[in-house]
Amino acid sequence: MDLLTTAPAWVLARATGAVLLVLLTVVTALGVATASGLRAVGVPRFAVQLLHRDAALLAVVLLALHVVLVVTDPAVDVGPLAAVLPLASGYAPVAVGLGALALDVLLAVVVTSLLRVRLGLRAWRAVHLLAYAAWPLALVHGLAAGTDGTAPWMLAVDAACAVLLTGALLVRLRTRAERAVTLPPSRTAPRAARPVASAGALR
């Protein structure tokens, strides 16, 4: 372990990265819990929703710290632009680029969520579904760009997060299947009532 010889800032950057992956997994799990309408004793649905939101905002703060630490580190050539633009980094451009992509996605998700009421459900949801992409991007970014990427402890953390995420996805898919049966039919299949012929109708 080279901790004692590496600059503290770089250590912190790696640490925040690792914590971020765990946090992202937790945020996704809470998101699934929200969308699936899950609740626990003493934790009503609106509280689960707020937890999801607060954890996501915490992740954003931590992500900002992670980016600042990496960008300001003189030992690696990662400029500020590289934080949002893939392939703009001097150091490990592809690996860092994946992180930039993850950041872009998260930024879009957070901004659209803050403006959800104004945007409307369809637009908000289209962007929010992209959030699922952030996790694999972050995972590969960590494996490839991080100094501890392939260290045994990091791989263990990765594996644990992957297990949790897979579980969350399975729960989500099951809730969707259940709900499809209980939802009013015309919302999912209004085709039957579409015009059979129209001339001069409006688009």
Binding site: P184, P185, S186, R187, P190, R191, A192, A193, R194, P195, V196, A197, S198, A199, G200, A201, L202, R203
Partner: protein
């Protein structure tokens, strides 16, 4: 109070709107229409609105809203949004037992089209639509529109949708006009439905025909009704102004008023009334409001003495439940449950809780949905319970008064 069982002497039938019965060879063509009524006056928008107001023209699709008020609202919406309006002639006639629009469209499609053009002018529309189901009625209307396409100022298009009960609701018409499904949706704040951002004026074809008469300064004919009963297919009639329910029944079958036990006034989502309570009421909102009913689309469903009103109601409620657009949970869930309970009561095997369970089921659907479909269903059930209380009591114990009587 015993109901009068003989109709007043029937005057010569009015021949303004439904002058050609179902047996006519072909509908009046444009030339014949012009000979009878002359060309539609080139009235400015203000004159059209004034004529509608003077004639107290109200919507004949079932809601009886003031046509002038609707046109005002659409014009205002058009101004506010900076978009030209659209006018849709609603020929869907979704009410299952209604035949008046179909007969009107075969007799006088050109009056309807006159009214459509006039309404278009009144609201500053830039296009007009014919909305209905594929079939002879819409075809007759479309053919008539084709006949005069060169002469009419505003272009007329056709939107044909699959037959469905809710397809004639105004937001559903607007939605179909923009290429969507003919299903109701939430109304904008000002109440005027939109199609692709343009305000839409939806008027029943009978209303438009009446508008065409009003602008010409011609007197308004009496109500158009459809009467149906067991063994009597829906039969449309035009009555004299001020006609009563009794007049309507007698116009179709002189012996019907005497045999009537109860009447479902307004059609499937209407109000059940004992014959004694409604035979002498005028077929108008003012005439029927005091007894808690409305003419609706002019449908009178007669349950003769010896017919079980609850059984008829069960059929009606099941139809209405099956007709739910399936968009709003309380309607899509609540109406089938209501239908189950009514069917059980009608068959004399109500579940525990009887009327209380039924009342709860009614409360769970009333007002809970984007459109008034569940409200109408609730109204039919509640009025049935009120119209034949003795029979309800009998059904709760497993017997039926009407079945015993017949």
């Amino acid at each position: 109070m015993t109901a009068p069982t003989t109709a007043r002497p029937a005057p010569a039938p009015s021949t303004t709107l439904l002058d050609r019965a179902a047996g006519a060879a072909r509908p009046a063509d444009l030339r014949e229409h012009l000979r009878r009524f002359g060309p539609a006056p080139a009235a400015p928008p203000g004159a059209v609105l004034a004529a509608a107001r003077a004639a107290d023209l109200r919507g004949r699709g079932g809601a009886w809203r003031s046509a002038a008020a609707k046109m005002d609202a659409v014009a205002a919406s058009s101004q506010r949004r900076g978009r030209a309006a659209v006018v849709a002639a609603d020929a869907a006639e979704g009410e299952p037992c209604s035949a008046k629009d179909a007969v009107l469209l075969r007799s006088n499609p050109h009056l309807v089209l006159d009214g459509l053009q006039l309404a278009g002018r009144a609201v500053g529309a830039d296009r007009l639509l014919l909305h209905g189901h594929p079939g002879p009625a819409l075809e007759a209307l479309a053919a008539a529109a084709h006949e005069r396409a060169g002469a009419d100022p505003l272009p007329v298009g056709v939107v044909a949708v699959p037959r469905a009960y809710v397809a004639g609701q105004d937001t559903a018409v607007a939605r179909a006009a923009e290429g969507g499904p003919a299903l109701p949706r939430s109304r904008p704040r000002d109440g005027v439905p939109l199609a692709g951002g343009a305000p839409v004026l939806v008027q029943n074809v009978e209303t438009l025909a009446r508008l065409a008469l009003a602008v010409r300064g011609l007197p308004q004919p009496g109500p158009l009704v459809t009467v149906t009963a067991p063994g009597l297919p829906p039969t449309a009639r035009e009555l004299r102004p001020g006609a009563t329910v009794l007049d309507a029944l007698a116009a179709v079958d002189p012996g019907l008023p005497a045999r009537a036990g109860a009447v479902l006034v307004g059609g499937y989502a209407g109000t059940w009334l004992p014959a004694s309570a409604c035979l002498d009421r005028t077929l108008s909102p003012e005439g029927l409001a005091p007894v808690g009913a409305s003419p609706g689309a002019g449908v009178l469903l007669v349950a003769p003495r010896g017919t079980c009103v609850l059984a008829a109601t069960a059929t009606v409620v099941r139809y209405l439940a099956d007709s739910s657009a399936g968009q709003c949970g309380p309607c899509w869930r609540g109406l089938p449950r209501l239908a189950d309970l009514v069917e059980e009561l009608a068959s004399g095997r109500p579940r525990d809780g009887g009327l209380a369970a039924l009342a709860r089921a009614v409360g769970l659907v009333e007002g809970r949905g984007a459109c008034a479909h569940p409200d109408g269903t609730a109204r039919t059930v509640t009025s049935a319970l009120r119209a034949v209380p003795d029979d309800i009591a009998a059904h709760l114990t497993g017997s039926c008064v009407e079945a015993a009587r017949s």
